[in-house]
Amino acid sequence: MRLIPTASQTAGPFFKFGLDRPEWADLTGGGKAAGEKIRIEGHVFDGDHAPVPDAFLEIWQANAAGKYAHAEDRQEKSLDPHFRGFGRCSTDKEGRYHFLTIRPGAVPGRGNTLQAPHIAVRVFARGLLKQVMTRLYFPEEPLNKSDPVLGSIEDAARRQTLIGSADGADGAAKIYRFDIVLQGQGETVFFDV
């Protein structure tokens, strides 16, 4: 017998005192994780291109070797004890968020494919009755050309919404800018997961 899954409801505007964990925006374990440190930052915008100050993002990614810290990743690659691959960050009054993390390795796709390095991103907010889910890919990554998920998006301009842009460095960490546009011009590609 099938049970009806519990429906989504908005996180509303007042989630911070319940969910905010500022320390979860640093996935590197205070810099101990192996791999190239990177900073992901950007804004969340609404359909008027106004910043969304009451959203939060969560990310999930593989470690530098391309392995997820999860029992179902049975690849013969090393886990990194200092890297869990999960982060959460609320947007600030200007709709900004940031994560400090490491550049993920490539992970297998369906069939015999290889996925380009990517970070899975989800956004919750007031006004979102259910989360939106997207992915961040990296510019100048040769594997992007053959990535099956990127390849499933025919419109090149839309595909481009999933690719972060290199934007200088914060100390030793390269910065990738990744704005999320919930609606309208430049609307980010969101996935039915």
């Binding site: 899954p5 996180a11 005192f17 297998p108 369906r110 006004g127 590609v189």
Partner: protein
């Protein structure tokens, strides 16, 4: 490498749409373009684990976070996290947050003219046990006004956040209270088209869970998406 086994997807009517004009905040925030279907890969069938205590010690008694007891009607909320096949989801993180008994959140942007309670933050979290069970002690949240429409009031509710085993199973929802007359006017509750799916969000009063002379008991099970069945070669 053999393909991963993905998760079931939601069925029409069982989840809210993004755009629901009755809930005004969706109008500028709902994606306008169709979603791109993503077949589940290793990325979606894996997800963060919290069983090792990474989220910190459980915070299950919201009535003992201050110097004194919070004002309001003490309640126990307990239930199980299951998947849609009825299997318990053990060792997963459940977070909750809510207004106090006067209907006010501990948040700088909550301007409702109702008192804050210095002894109540309204937030907690727990890792489900091996049977997928959780339990919190808290205070019945008050209803509160919001500016969606003139004289609009949110039905009493508690926000729940659950991870489950994979990126694909994560859900944030709200628990409602049986018999609350505000539910029928609440556009967030009614954003879910199917009545049976809406009813899943209403907790049930459980006299067995109530503790004599101390607290009322409400039961609230949360059902996550299940695994696609392994192909059996039929």
């Amino acid at each position: 490498m053999s393909d991963v086994i993905g998760y079931e997807r939601g069925r029409p009517g069982e989840d809210p749409p993004y755009l629901d004009p009755n809930y005004g905040s969706t109008v500028k925030r709902a994606p306008a373009k169709p979603l791109v279907r993503l077949e589940h890969t290793l990325t979606e069938v894996t997800g963060p684990g919290f069983a090792d205590g990474w989220a910190g010690p459980d915070k299950t008694d919201l009535t003992r976070q201050g110097k004194g007891e919070p004002i309001g009607e003490r309640m126990i909320v307990a239930g199980r996290i299951l998947d849609e096949h009825g299997r318990p989801v053990p060792r997963t993180l459940v977070e909750l947050w809510q207004a106090n008994s006067a209907g006010r959140y501990m948040h700088e942007n909550d301007r409702h003219d109702a008192p804050l309670d210095p002894n109540f933050t309204g937030s907690g979290h727990v890792i489900t046990n091996d049977n997928g069970e959780y339990q919190f002690v808290t205070i019945v949240p008050g209803a509160y006004p919001w500016r969606n429409t003139h004289n609009a009031w949110r039905a009493q509710h508690i926000h729940f956040s659950v991870f489950g085993p994979a990126f694909a199973t994560r859900v944030i929802t709200q628990m409602y209270f049986p018999g609350d007359p505000l539910m029928q006017y609440d556009p967030i509750f009614h954003s879910i088209p199917e009545e049976a799916a809406r009813n899943r969000l209403i907790s049930s009063y459980d006299p067995e869970l109530s503790v004599a002379e101390w607290a009322l008991g409400y039961r609230f099970d949360i059902v996550l998406r299940g695994r696609l069945q392994t192909p059996t070669g039929i």
